[in-house]
């Protein structure tokens, strides 16, 4: 997938609000070569209009699972970005967008590649 994106001349950039150590773990674990960025405080996600606050009942639930979001994200905002994928042309114009309230969902790789072929 990454190879196909790069063959099409595109750059893959992944962004999460986790502090760098966590992002680094993600990158190394999967042997990935693309850029993984820590968007601490969700500044970039905010520019794209993607930030929401995790409700208190869910904070407590995740805490009970041993997930310490304040430590992972370096603040106590409990803000998160929606799951989103943007395909951006060289002119900086957004061509394709996937956004979902469900954090599990992602843009299908086939749709990413089709979108990139259309941009070229």
């Amino acid at each position: 997938m990454l190879e196909e994106i790069q063959k099409l001349g595109a750059n893959l950039v992944a962004i999460s609000p986790e502090v760098s150590t966590a992002a680094q773990v993600t990158a190394q674990k999967n042997g990935l070569t693309f850029h993984v960025f820590s968007d601490i405080g969700n500044g970039v996600a905010r520019k794209f209009g993607l930030v929401f606050k995790l409700p208190p009942a869910l904070r407590e639930f995740y805490q009970s699972l041993g997930i310490d979001l304040a430590a992972q994200n370096g603040d106590e905002s409990y803000e998160l970005p929606l799951s989103a994928t943007y395909l951006i042309g060289r002119d900086a114009v957004v061509r394709n967008v996937f956004v979902d309230a469900d954090y599990v969902k992602r843009m299908e790789p086939a749709d990413i590649l089709a979108g990139l072929r259309a941009i070229r």
Binding site: G9, N11, V36, L58, L69, D102, E108, R120
Partner: protein
Amino acid sequence: MDSLTEQLEQMREASWGRWPAEKRALVEQSFRDIAASGIFERTVKPGERAPEFKLKSADGAEVSLSGLLRTGPVVLAFYRGHW
């Protein structure tokens, strides 16, 4: 091979399957609440200009959207984290 969506749904079942039903319902309700909040009307849309940004990578390198776009199109993926 399964689509990414199918693989992710299998991962969801592996994880959510261990949760009590009411916690699963809580998470599903939160998705509906997000949708009802109007957030989707405020997100950057196709045809709009992507906002410029700068970020440091895990290895300390600084990258900007405009810098990346000089070499080709960009696939920008936002995710909540590894959890």
